[in-house]
Each structure stands twice: as C-alpha cells, then as structure tokens.
C-alpha cells in the first residue's frame, strides 16, 4: 500500500508547487475564507519582523500566534513553502497510519462481538469486511491531500495546516495506544488553538477501551487511569506554556492568543457565525453573547460522551467537526480535516438520507463565497447580508452533514444488535425513527 500513497503524495506536492508558482497564490492568500486573523501568513511575517526589531510581537494586536510558532518560523522562514507542503504530507501520512490501525481494531472488535453472539442473525450485509476496508486509509490520505480546501490552505500558507498536523499526530498516538504521546500532542494542539481541549474526552475513552478498563464511575481503575491521563495532559500543557514564557520572557502571549480566541474582538468576515452577530450587536450585550457562543463549542462534549462512549473514534470525528463549525475563526482548512475522515464511515452510506442535497449545498456555497465577496467589496452592489447568507447556508450544510452521519451511525448500531427487519411485539413491520 505504500506505492499508491507515494503516488498520491507526489501528485499533491506537484499541484501545490504549481500553484505556488502561479499568480493564483497571491489571490488565494487574500481570501478571507482561507486565512483568518488567527492564522494568516501575513501576520506571522509581521510578528517575525517585530521580533527582529526587538519589540514584543504581541504589541499592536496584529499577531495572534503562539511563541513556539514564531520560533519555528524564525529558523524556517526561508523554506516556508516547503514547510507547509511537508506539514500537509505529514498530516496525510499520520492519518493513513492511524486509520490503518483503527481498521484493525474495528475488525477485531467486530469478530469478538460476532463470536459473543451480540449481533442479530440477519445482519450479514452490515458487517464490514477486510476487502472493503482495504482501501480506506489510502482514500483518507487522498481526501485530505487533494481536497481543494487543503490545497488552498497550503498555498495561502495558513498555519491552520500546522494545527491539523498536530491534531493528526494526536489521533495517531491515541489510536496506537500511547497515552504519553497522546497527552503531549493534545497539549500542543490545545496550546495552539484552545478548542482541541474537547478532544480530551474521546481520547480518554479510547485509551480506556484499549486498556480494557470499564467506564463505570464506581471502578477505581477508571479514576486512576483518568487521573493519570489528565495529569500527563496538564503537566505537558504547563510545561509548554512555561517554555513559551521563557522564550519571550513575558506573559503577553496569553491575552493575545487565548484572550483573542475567546473574546473575538476582530470582526473580519470569515466562514464562521461570529462576525455578523457581533458586528450588529450592542456593546452592552456582547459579553453575554460571547459567553453563549463559546459555551456552544464546548457544550456538546458531555452529551456526546454519554451517547458515544462505545465508539470514541466516531466521537472524535464529530467533535472535530463541531470545533471547526462553531469555533470563533474557522477557515476551510479546519473543514478539510474532518472531511478527510468521511471515507472511514463509507459503510454508513446506505443510511445517509440527505447526502446528495448536502454535497450540492456545500459545493455551491463554496463557489458563491468569492462571487458574493466580489459583489460586496469590489462592485459595491451587495452588502454584508449577502455574504452572511452564504456563510449561514454553508454552516447549516455542515451541521446537517454531521448530524446525518451521526444518525446513520446510531441507526447501524441499532440494526446490528436488533436485526435488519424490525418487528413490533405483535409481528408487524416497524420503522426506526429518531426522536
């Protein structure tokens, strides 16, 4: 399987290199859908320039990256394009290896449950087979590398790519079962953009499952392991934050990075939901609504953890999707990360209800983003309402996509344990509905 992967990587690198040399590169890096105030390359360059002048990069409210990123690019600024291409390749390879391992785990678990007779007798067509799962890791790598969103993000040199790499390594470490590495990468991801904090829950659930520790509040080993993992995570986070402090000798980065992410002062239009609301809102209420919007991102973790505790990797997928829809400054690079996982749930295809309409909506909205931006900013014939309408439609499409997959997943689980032909107690055919 290595040869097709290498071929895909080569094609992806060629496409990116070709785009870097063309005059589309400048156009793409200006797009607000691709670079937000948090991860625009222009701001990284600005921060580096300030650092070279001896001034704190965080003075002036332009630069909102973490100190580790500054130091990374301080040494690698000459090879910026190469760095971004390599991060994309690393993300794809990490996802490839992770999904390969995950498939083995899924297959093993499936075999165990069949032998334990947990499945109903007539669900033969729902069981996943190694043949159909053979190409899934390659498809995942393909979906990530050749997704136009990822390519645009790479060409625009948005640091969202680095964020994706760290999350991909975290997923790889979790699936391989290494609690230490998983905690370290999760700490790095949280350090960089705060929202991956919510991925603590699925990672913990997966590691507990892997250690065969039952998830019961009464069990002592459960609490012991949770404490261990939490301690590893918090210690790594503290170490990284202290390291950042010593790099720049000031705590300036905390309000500039985390304060910026949480309080959303910059209302540049992007593909998220925050900017229009806060542009139209009175000052008096903005604190309340900021809190409401931010709680919305973290809120879904607990209900999902309760519902999906047997399926932590699906939980991780849904959580990443929720982060990239509801975060304060989303870009298409974030969307590309969760879309890369869609081939893993190929077997849910027969239960998806709206996939055609949703794909059409997402594609047409992506096409209309630059058109309406042009009409608003350059032609002056439209206004911000037009652009926000497309943003809203795009986000609704994403939300419906994720909930469609969620429902399909749950439906399949139900059919597996109760059989495909559901009957009511009196023998007539029943239908499964989600209440």
């Amino acid at each position: 399987m290595a040869a097709p992967l290498v071929l895909v990587v080569l094609v992806a690198v060629t496409v990116r290199a070709a785009l870097y040399r063309s005059n589309l590169a400048a156009f793409i890096s200006e797009r607000v859908e691709v670079s937000s105030p948090l991860n625009a390359w222009k701001r990284v360059v600005e921060g580096l320039a300030l650092l070279d002048l001896g001034v704190s990069p965080y003075s002036g409210a332009v630069f909102h990256e973490t100190p580790l990123i500054i130091y990374l690019f301080h040494f690698l600024i000459e090879y910026a394009e190469l760095v971004f291409m390599i991060t994309d390749v690393l993300t794809a390879v990490a996802l490839y290896l992770a999904i390969q391992d995950f498939n083995k785990v899924v297959f093993k678990k499936q075999k165990l449950l069949i032998e334990l007779d947990k499945y109903a007798p007539d669900v033969a067509e729902l069981i996943q087979t190694p043949m159909e799962m053979h190409y899934i890791p390659l498809k995942v790598a393909l979906f990530y590398l050749l997704n136009p969103y990822t390519v645009m993000s790479c060409v625009a040199k948005s640091t969202c790519a680095i964020n994706n790499t760290v999350i991909a390594f975290f997923i790889l470490a979790t699936i391989k079962g290494s609690a230490f590495l998983s905690a370290v990468f999760l700490a790095l991801a949280t350090y960089q953009s705060l929202y991956p904090l919510t991925l603590f829950a699925p990672a913990l659930l997966y590691l507990l499952q892997r250690q065969f520790i039952p998830i019961k509040p009464k069990s002592k080993s459960f609490w012991l392991y949770t404490m261990q993992y939490a301690a590893l995570y918090l210690c790594s986070l503290v170490v990284i934050i202290c390291l950042s402090f010593f790099l720049l000798n000031s705590w300036d980065f905390i309000p500039s990075v985390y304060g910026f992410i949480l309080s959303v002062p910059d209302l540049t239009p992007n593909i998220g939901l925050f900017w229009y609301f806060f542009a139209e809102m009175f000052e008096h209420f903005s604190l309340f609504f900021v809190c409401v919007f931010q709680i919305n991102v973290f809120f879904y973790t607990i209900p999902l953890a309760i519902k999906l505790k047997e399926h932590p990797v699906f939980f991780m997928f849904v959580q990443i999707a929720i982060i990239s829809i509801f975060k304060s400054y989303p870009t298409v690079g974030d969307v590309a990360l969760y879309m890369a996982f869609l081939p893993v749930w190929n077997h849910l295809y027969r239960f998806l209800r709206n996939i055609f309409i949703l794909s059409c909506v997402l594609i047409v909205c992506s096409l209309l983003f630059p058109v309406l931006w042009h009409l608003w900013i350059y032609a002056g014939s439209a206004n911000s309402n037009f652009y926000y309408a497309i943003t809203l439609t795009f986000n609704i499409g994403q939300i419906l996509l994720v909930s469609d997959y969620f429902y399909a997943f749950l439906r399949r689980e139900y059919y597996l344990t109760h059989g495909l032909h559901l009957t009511r107690p009196d023998g007539t055919e029943a239908m499964l509905v989600l209440k």
Binding site: T129, M131, C360, I363, L367, L368, L372, L375, A379, G380
Partner: protein, 573 residues
C-alpha cells in the same frame, strides 16, 4: 429618488451659452481636421483660457490582434482634461463630464457643449465638488488609460505617462455624445462592462431633469408610449426590456461610462439623437438639463447607494427589481436540480439490489463504484482541455495561422475559434471507448453519472453567473436548461442532437444578434448577420484582452466544457 440628498432642491437653470457651444464645436472640428487626430494644443489653450487647470495624459496600447472594425493595432493617444476647482471646498470629491474625440465629423458638438458648460460653471460659486472635464481619445482605450492612471492601478496592460493631476474621489460621471447641432431626443445608456449597472438614482435624476426641461428622453432608442396599459405599449416595453437583456448579457459597455462602474463610480452615457421628428431642441436646453443634473449631483453627501443596483428597465420610468426577476431564474435552476435528483434516485435504486446478489458481493460495491467514478475522468478532462484550447489557441496561434492560410490576423483568430469549437463536437467518438468497464450494467449507466455531474456543474455555474450578470445567466439558462434536462443517449438521437446544437452558446450568440437587429427595427439578412457574428466574436476577444471582460473566458472555460459534457452524454455509445 431614494437618495435623500438629491431630494428636494429646486434649481433654476440659467445656462444660455448654446450658441457659444456650437461655435466652439465648429472650431474644434476645424482643428481636428487640421491636426488629423486630437487637437491637443488647441484644447489645452481653450481650457486654459476658460480658467480650468489643464492636464494631459499620453497612453499607448498594443492590441492582441488588429481590430478590423476600427482599423487599429498599435494605439497611441492623448487624453486632455481640465479640472474646475471648487472655490470654497477642500477638493476631496469630484464629478466628471467626459466626451470622446471621435475621428471624422462625430461628437464635435459634445466637445463644444463640454467647453461651454465649463465656462458657465466656472462663473458659479456653489460648487462643493471639483468638476473634471475630460476629452479622451480612442474611446474605451483612452478612458481605461485615464481611469487606471487616476486611480493608480494596473488592471490592463495600458502604458501611460506619469502621475496625473487629481481632484479627489470621483462620485459620479456623465459621458456625453452629441453629433448634431439640434437634437430631437436624448437617449441614455446604462449597461456597463460585464453587465454592471449604475445606481438607479442616476437614471431617475436624468429622467426628472428631462421632464423638467421638456426634453424628450428615450432608452434603448425607444420612446415609451403614453397609453402604458394597452397591448402595443406592453409589446414596446417588452422590446425595450429584451434589448436591455441582450445588451447586458453581451458584457459590452454601451458607452464610455461603462468603465467607470468598475471603480464604484456611478456613471451613465447620454446620447443626443437627431431623427426625423418635427420638434427640435437646441443646445441650450441640453445644456440646461446637464447643468441641473450636475447641480443635483453636487449636493451628494456620500456615494449613491440607496437605490437599486440590480434592475431591468422596460421603460425609462419603470423598472423590474431583483426580487421580482430572481425567482424566475430560481425556477429554471430548480429544473436542473430536480433532474439531477431524479438521476441520483435512479442510480441508487439499482445499487442495493445489485450488492446482495452473487457470492462476490464483497467485490460488488467497491469494484463497480471505482470504475463508475473512473469512467468520468476522461470525458471531464477532455472537455476541459477543449475549453482551454478554445481560450488560449486562437490568440496564441494567430501567427501560425496567418503563415499557412491567406487570411488576416483578426480573421485567423475568429476562424480558429470557430474551428476549435466545432472540432470539440467530434470528440465523443474517441473518449469513452478506451474504458471498457466490467459488466454492461456499469457502462450503460455511466452516462447517468456523467449527466448528473454535467447538470450540477451547469447549475452551479449559472447560479454564480446570475449573481454577477443576471441577463447573461438568464439567457444561458433559458437556452441551455431545457436541452440539458432532455439530453440522454436513449430516445430520438437526431432530434436531441439538433436541440443541443441549438442550445450551444455560439448559436445563442448568433440568434441574439438576429433578435437584436429585429428589435431595433433594422432586420438583418443572413449574410449580414453572419458578418456581425464574426465581428462580435472578434470584439468579445478584444474586450476580454483589453478591458478584462469575463464573457470570453467564462464561455470558453466554463460553459463550453459543460456543453461538451452534455454532448458526450448524448453520444455515450
């Protein structure tokens, strides 16, 4: 009038220098003949003597291929403009009155009126904005050069001389065309480059002042009837509307104002028409109308943005707004989407049935899905390659073509264009034979997947297009949607092929030309129509390369590959 600042000033126009305008026009004509082009020295001297601050701009541009209609290839010219500084304001905003210096006996009276207005305006104290009086050479090229130099940008490849004297941000512009001493009516043209329209307030302003001065005003050269409720009146409104749709769809600016719109400067072109009507208006009346318009524009506090930017005009005093005409377009796109949905259902209905028969059910889904998607790649690639060839080859290959064939460059470009277009239609016979595909079911249904893709591609393109240039989007939708929905390899192939050929963008252009000639009551014979068609192709290419119109790349790189995909579907086996 939606803009409050242009609301209720009652001005008493006092322009009476009509005779002076005519005298200046005769002077200008004489000097133009003597100089054999634009009499820059005379213009500069006259503007200086009127008290304006005069500037000059040289520009030059090389066309990608010679322009046969205007007989030019290497264009070199000068724009002359004078700035009337507002006596008590800070020179932060400006208005523009421009005319073009046309070769021959055209547009002389416009220059004369411009200079007379300049001398009259110079004596007034109420100006809050600077007024720029611009005389540009080589119509659109000169205007583009001036606008680019004024705004210090580099959109097209015009080379011009250094920084210009400026007067602040331009709020509105009026372009004037007058070729006779007296006029019977005053025509207004609104369509700009790429179908962009000025704010409706500017049109209302023109209408209001024409009514006030009793000047007969028309749009698209047609006068609206007073009995607007009757059938002949509806027919005339429909004609006017269709003319506007055709003009906007072509993306060609109807006058020199069209280039201002790109810089968010509201502009219109006013044309004086001298027809066989009995009642004639003299220069003073025209001058009074323009004076009134400029005085109202002088009152603007901010750029015109209150009224509509998207509208269609069946007559000068009625408009159709976007909220009324968009749903019609929406329904057309709905046809495509419903057809696509229908194909999707058909494709999915046979799938689960196919996957639980046979022992190789494990191989079933993965192997039938892979060739299904893989079979799409060659047609898509080939169609887009044909589109790329259509876009790049005519202009790049003109030297090769002129070496081998006895044609001029412009003809070579246009004929290469037509040749590649028609050659693309011969492709279906070679693309999909390459891929055999396991089993006849997959291959026979492969056309459904291709058609689904083509329909969705067409719908996405038309939606994006309708937002930018509604008339073009609607015209392409009306012609292509029925043909696209009906195309299938099963069914009466010859009839469907004919329908699809009639729906192709080139034939739409040809029919549009004939329709337009019909509507301006100068019907064209087939030969003349064909000549106009070839001319239109050449002009379209030039407009794209010189001014950045997007009709040519859109049709070549977007609509033509889509149409070719449908053609591939029709000839699937």
């Amino acid at each position: 009038m939606s803009e409050n600042a242009m609301g209720s000033t009652m001005v008493e126009e006092q322009f009476s220098l009509g005779e002076r305008a005519l005298a200046l026009a005769r002077d200008f004509a004489a000097h133009k003949k003597k100089a054999g082009g634009m009499p820059t020295a005379w213009l500069e001297k006259t503007m200086w003597s009127l008290g304006l601050e005069v500037h000059q701009q040289q520009f030059s541009h090389t066309l990608p291929f010679p322009d046969e209609s205007r007989e030019r290839y290497l264009v070199r010219g000068t724009n002359v403009y004078g700035i009337l500084r507002a006596p008590r304001a800070a020179s932060t905003e400006a208005l523009v009155l421009s005319t073009g210096c046309a070769p021959g006996p055209h547009n002389n009276q416009a220059v004369g009126l411009l200079l007379a207005l300049a001398s009259y305006f110079r004596g007034q104290i109420y100006w809050a904005k600077d007024i720029i009086f611009l005389v540009n050479e080589h119509d659109l090229l000169g205007m583009e050069a001036w606008l680019e130099a004024y705004h210090d940008v580099n959109i097209t490849a015009v080379r011009s001389s250094g920084p210009l004297g400026r007067a602040g941000a331009i709020q509105a512009a009026i372009s004037l065309e007058l070729s006779s001493d007296v006029v019977t009516s005053f025509d207004v043209a609104v369509e700009g480059l790429n179908g962009q329209l000025p704010n409706l307030d500017l049109l209302n302003l023109f209408n209001a002042f024409c009514q006030k001065n009793g000047l007969l005003c028309t749009i698209q050269g047609k006068l609206q009837r007073s009995d607007w409720d009757s059938l002949p009146a509806y027919a005339r409104s429909l004609q006017t509307l269709l003319l506007m749709v055709l003009a906007q769809a072509s993306g060609r600016p109807r006058g020199e104002h069209g280039l201002f719109l790109r810089y968010r400067i509201e502009a219109v072109t006013l044309r004086g028409i001298n027809s066989f009507r009995q009642y004639k208006y003299d220069m003073s009346t025209v001058g009074k109308t323009l004076e009134g318009m400029f005085r109202k524009l002088n009152n603007l506090l901010e750029r015109l943005h209150q009224s509509y930017f998207f509208y269609l005009l069946p007559s000068l005093s009625r408009f159709v707004s976007i909220g009324v005409y968009m749903p019609a377009f929406g329904f057309l796109i709905l046809v495509l989407i419903l057809r696509a949905l229908d194909l999707w259902m058909k494709l999915n209905k046979t799938d689960p049935g196919g996957s639980d028969q046979l022992s190789d059910s494990d191989h079933g889904p993965s192997t039938t899905e892979a060739p299904r998607l893989l079979a799409l790649v060659p047609p898509v690639l080939v169609c887009h390659a044909a589109g790329l060839a259509l876009y790049y080859l005519p202009v790049l290959g003109q030297s090769v073509a002129t070496q081998h064939f006895p044609v001029s460059e412009a003809e070579a470009v246009v004929l290469t264009l037509i040749a590649i277009y028609v050659a693309g239609m011969a492709l279906p016979h070679s693309t999909h034979r390459v891929l055999g595909g396991p089993g006849s079911v997959a291959a026979a249904r492969g056309w459904m997947v291709l058609k689904l893709l083509a329909l969705l591609y067409l719908a996405a393109q038309l939606t994006a297009l309708a937002l930018l240039n509604f008339s073009l989007g609607f015209l392409l939708a009306v012609t292509m949607v029925p043909a696209a929905a009906a195309t299938a390899p099963t069914g009466p192939r010859v009839l469907l092929a004919l329908v699809l050929v009639l729906a192709t963008p080139a034939v739409t252009l040809l029919l549009g030309i004939f329709l337009e000639r019909e509507l301006v009551e100068a019907p064209a014979a087939p030969g003349e129509g064909w000549q106009r068609f070839l001319g239109a192709l050449g002009q379209g290419l030039l407009l794209h390369h010189l001014h950045g119109a997007f009709l040519c790349p859109l049709l070549a790189l977007g609509t033509y590959p889509c149409w070719l995909l449908l053609w591939n579907v029709l000839f699937w086996d």
